[in-house]
Amino acid sequence: MSQIHITTTINGDETEYLCEADETLLDVLRDHLDMTGSKEGCGTGDCGACSVVVDGRLVCSCLMLAAEAEGRAIETIEGMGQGDQLHPLQQKFLEHAALQCGICTPGILVAAKNLLERNPNPSEEEVRYWLAGNLCRCTGYDKIIRAVMDTAADMRGAA
């Protein structure tokens, strides 16, 4: 099978890669680009561990073909902070101890950031339903929801 050449933007950097027609974006991120922050929890779009943002839209990278990334702008967990500077959500997740094993955390952070960009003032109900696509087996979600609400309040205050 001939490989496909893709030019895309990942976390603001122009990136090129070669992929097979049947490879997912998640495979390419993890296996070819050494960006292992996105995780595979199911491979079928049901857990959110692989969440990334493509052109502003939250997607499961396990459900998107790598070849579809041509010309798009992709954001992953690796680009969430700036250098050593954590994003406010990351900071709040630390403060609220909103994680245990941590394997769902990157996907949840990517999803939560996308929510706050769309809606800086979400209700708790909206946070809970927005994150319903991201499974966490450890925490019971409470601290995650509180951390997102708290970040939103802080970011509104700062804006």
Partner: protein, 767 residues
Amino acid sequence: MSIKGATHQDLAHDSAAKHVTGRAEYTDDIPEPGGTLHAYLGLSEVAHGRIVEMDLSEVLAAPGVVGVLTADDIPGANDISPTGLGDDPVFPEDSVEFHGQPLFAVVAESREAARRAATLAQVEIAPLAHVLDPVGAIEAGYPDVTAPLKLERGDVAGGLADSAHRIKGRMAIGGQDHMYLEGHIAFAMPGEDDDVVVYSSTQHPSEAQHMVAHVLGVPSHSVVVNVRRMGGGFGGKETQMNLFAAVAALAAKKWNRPVKIRPDRDQDMIATGKRHDFVADYEVGFDGEGRIEAVEGFFAARCGFSADLSGPVTDRALFHADNAYFYPHVRLRSRPMKTNTVSNTAFRGFGGPQGVIVAERMIEEIAYALGRDPLEIRKANFYRPGGDVTPYHQQVEDNILERIVGELEESSQYQARRQAIRDDNVRNGIIRRGIALTPVKFGISFTATWYNQAGALVHVYSDGSIMLNHGGTEMGQGLNIKVAQVVAEAFQVDIERVKITRTTTEKVPNTSATAASSGSDLNGMAALDACEQIKARLVDFACENRGIAADEVAFLPGRVKLGADEIGFDDFIRQAYMARVQLSAAGFYKTPKIHWDRAKGQGRPFYYFAYGAACSEVSVDTLTGEYRVDRVEILHDVGRSLNPAVDRGQVEGGFIQGMGWLTSEELWWDDDGRLRTHAPSTYKIPLASDRPRIFNVALAEWSQNAERTIKRSKAVGEPPFMLGISVFEAISMAVASVAGYRECPRLDAPATPERVLMAIERLKRER
């Protein structure tokens, strides 16, 4: 000034900064060396049968395939039974015993190639009759996978006969998939001679090491197993990883290349063990006040095709079939039944929850029969002076439930809310509400007494920095940070000076599984022992060097007091090093006081008990059976918490997981023995949207362990899981309201909306 990161402080998980940036490395994130091969399992598509022929030629011919592994390729023993019963082959030789049993492995240049090739096998199996559930297994005369247990005290027949009231019932209790977000995985690197190093996400590295050695036919010293962190475990990675570790190691040695094996989610759920399903028959005798006189209980468990850990799991179901209540006369029996399903295994609570829920069912039965509040019946039956002996003849010495339940009853305003809910339900609305306050008492210790030991290795380097290694594994529960806090406090240094390293069989040998909630109890004590040894040498050195008495030496925050002088910790260590003081120690701990005679059913299997209570309120739609959890209050006992932030997280997570077990998580096998709920698309764990609308969790801050555990803390991993029962019983109350609370709805678990609706319809008909 005190140090940063002492015990009893809120501290974030030690890897938290890496978790939030995606830089925490899990086994699948380890960079693959060039030439890495990938293995994938081929599974049986028959539940029970004789293997007539296994034709793997098409598999071998598939693109990218390097070879296959079958039972014939095993140089050592083809067995990974954790209890040495010899009933757990890596790959079967003559017969298959469950749908989904691994038959062979394909090894290929890429995971995708291996995965595709695995589907090409032509396996001919002559089917035999199969049995899927424990009741069917008893009827079919299937054997127990391991010896049953009986616990007995008093005169049950007499007690039942003398009781004013008697109720008999049956309850079916579903199993549960672990659904750790990181599935099974093992990555083996071949070394020289017989050596192999396996990176794996296992809760029990020592057992994986021993199993790999056993399968390869080499001594344990040739095998190293490393675990940095797991993406969740919950018991599912205690024995179930052994197969993957063995396959990766076999392939790595055979082809002399690194080999990784990672099943996809469906295969993980189909081929690896789960929580045991039970069918429990009970008979309870009680007086007009609801005081229990006698209990007879019979617990049949679906154990799957092999014993695995079913012995201790079904034992623990009996150990917890009293939950918090005194049974004057009692007989409890288990039947760990063989079935043609995947072998059931450890899962948070380890059989305990299945015992506890039956105790709570009996309470519910009594309450509905007498027209009382179940909480009143609970209180009437708590262990108490003069009524403090368990069915296994251990005395309950540290009972604090009355206080916990009393405080929660008050803070949650249980009585007023219950009344309001009953008033509301009388109005005959479509939405009915329910509330329940249920307690838990959970025995802490491995019931296999020899497991209650742990080791740790502590090095103080000459610059004063400290490296900590212990036998426990980190799966998100915060074990590493807790043990590091113990070490920081022992030396009075800031926590940043203590580095926590991966768990490896090279540093601490013969460890027990990180299980039974015992991680911090055991490993914290072992680490403390190592620290105390090093400190004793340092004190000796100071006395000798300075001519001062031992009581003139004190470890103060970041420094050491030496008679009238004080010097920094790092300087002191430097001086000790120059004076040739040994700055490394191996610590060890074994739990005192415990003993257990299984044949007699008597002893003290548990060092102590952990307690807790939860009050849950739900709304149920009586037209659809759907429900939601409106409010939950929890008061839980962790003794003097080593790290309250971490412990609260365990309580919240455990509760939600327990709620999932009893509500939405349903394992469904079809008649052919095929598991039909084998991915998150069909198997539903709680979501963020299911979190109770109001959720208040508190630790009983006044509690401290009556026993001399590490800093008087208590284990926290498993006990809160059983608090989820309050949701189950609140649903039951809402259902009961449709028939005026005259009848116990006898919901089976999980109470899926479908089951709830059926119960509502049944009660309406019988009304």
